[in-house]
């Protein structure tokens, strides 16, 4: 099997991640932050180290701003539902995943908030002009993806951040597809809430996610419970990260994530993106030269596209195309990618698309083999 479904989750994981998880099962089996015995403290240290690595990688203000979750969806729900209050207005983009769209829709349907959808333009200037028209006096939050999980288009987050700051709005970035791929400096980019999975570009195991929340103490909480701190209080702690981390963490997963971050740091963010972009370009060129292949985006541009391409075989729906490729030994995702807004924007609500998403372990030989098989199926 040749794996081109890295936007869903990266595979394979680096050997050091597998080793870290195995080691953790034997050495770090205690519950961190609960007890005072040696194994609990040793496990707590492993968790803290991962927090620290994330804080450094994304330039968080404080280590304790780093919150561990189950996945990016949970991070997004915690942030969106944590910061918005009754009567607030929010803005999201027309490329959002359901993990941003659905919480917003739920809050709206519950009569708590209103929200608008920003059409991402051809360039930052067009996007900003459109965004300015959507801002209202009660706009509290602007929440956008860093890049589309279906079409790989990057959103101009720096320009959007400037608008958010100008109007005193909070700014949330869904970096599900960009964490570990593109550089993200929370402080330089003025990001208040950064959400990401641990199991995609950071090469950690599934069941890991991260929310980096500037002053997360102000959030309403979705979940309250045991934190191993201030246990006699009936109230959820008002300090981070405990306020947003109730219950036992996915300790083994986080230790694996820590090793994944080491892989990203040691390989180099830039090197990873250069490699993945090269293959993205190669596949895009290859597909573009095949009659009967439909592409939906312009040729990728460095820094403006993620290593994700959506396409179809003429006359076939996305899941059918992916099914054919699966039979030929290529793992892709076909369908709507939990991104109805993006498919509506790109005119693929009827057909869906097949999505090829490149990872650090894909090779030129695999990319060429992929183009060859698509060519065969296009005839």
């Amino acid at each position: 099997m040749i794996y081109f479904d890295n936007a869903a989750t990266t595979f394979p994981k680096p050997a050091k991640v597998v080793a870290a998880v195995n080691q953790a099962m034997s050495l770090y089996g205690a519950n961190p932050g609960r007890s005072g015995h040696k194994m609990s403290l040793a496990t707590a240290e492993q968790i803290y180290n991962c927090r620290e690595k994330l804080a450094e990688l994304f330039h968080a203000n404080r280590v304790e701003d780093v919150v561990f979750t189950q996945n990016c969806t949970q991070s997004l729900n915690i942030a969106i539902k944590g910061i918005l209050r009754w009567g607030d207005h929010a803005i999201i983009s027309d490329l959002e995943h359901n993990s941003v769209l659905r919480p917003m829709e739920k809050l709206k349907n519950d009569g708590l908030i209103t929200y608008d959808i920003l059409k991402i333009g051809q360039d930052a200037a067009e996007t900003v002009a459109r965004l300015e028209k959507l801002i209202r006096p009660n706009t509290k939050l602007i929440a956008v993806t860093h890049g589309s999980n279906a079409f790989g288009i990057c959103v101009p987050i720096e320009a959007i951040s400037n608008v958010a700051k100008k109007h005193g709005c909070y700014f949330l970035v869904d970096s599900a597809q960009s964490a570990g791929v593109l550089p993200i400096d929370i402080q330089k980019l003025g990001i208040d809430f950064l959400c990401m999975p641990g199991h995609k570009g950071l090469y950690g195991p599934s069941g890991t996610g991260v929310l980096i929340a500037n002053n997360g103490e102000r959030f309403n909480t979705l979940i309250e419970g045991g934190t191993g701190s201030v246990s006699l209080s009936y109230k959820q702690p008002d300090f981070m990260p405990d306020r947003l981390e109730s219950g036992t963490l996915n300790t083994i997963g986080i230790i694996g994530l820590s090793a994944g971050i080491d892989f990203v740091n040691q390989t180099g963010l830039n090197a990873i993106y250069e490699h993945e972009f090269e293959l993205t370009n190669m596949i895009d060129s290859g597909l573009r030269n095949i009659p009967g292949v439909i592409l939906y985006t312009a040729p990728p541009r460095k820094g403006q596209n993620l290593p994700v391409i959506s396409f179809n075989l003429s006359g076939k729906k996305g899941d059918e195309t992916a099914g054919l490729l699966d039979e030929a030994g290529f793992a892709l995702r076909g369908g709507f990618h939990c991104a109805p807004l993006a498919h509506k924007k790109m005119g693929t609500l009827e057909s869906g698309t097949a999505r090829v998403s490149i990872g650090a372990f894909n090779t030129k030989i695999q990319a060429q083999a992929f183009c060859n098989i698509v060519k065969k199926f296009s005839k």
Partner: protein, 73 residues
Amino acid sequence: MDGPIFIVNSVTYAMRAEKVLQKFGITSKILRSSKYQTSSGCGYAVKVNCPEETAADIFNRAGIKVVSVVEED
């Protein structure tokens, strides 16, 4: 190790306190015991190998909230 014991609310603060002190070449040890509870219950303690004022200043600059300071019996 002789030295004052700083009580903080969580293991994350305790770990950060330990790391911050390391940068100044100060050793410390993290403890968890009912002897070092906060008024709200469970907390973690950091026993430091330096004068109280030195550690207190370092923690203050690093934004580490200290609940209380005790001396070992």
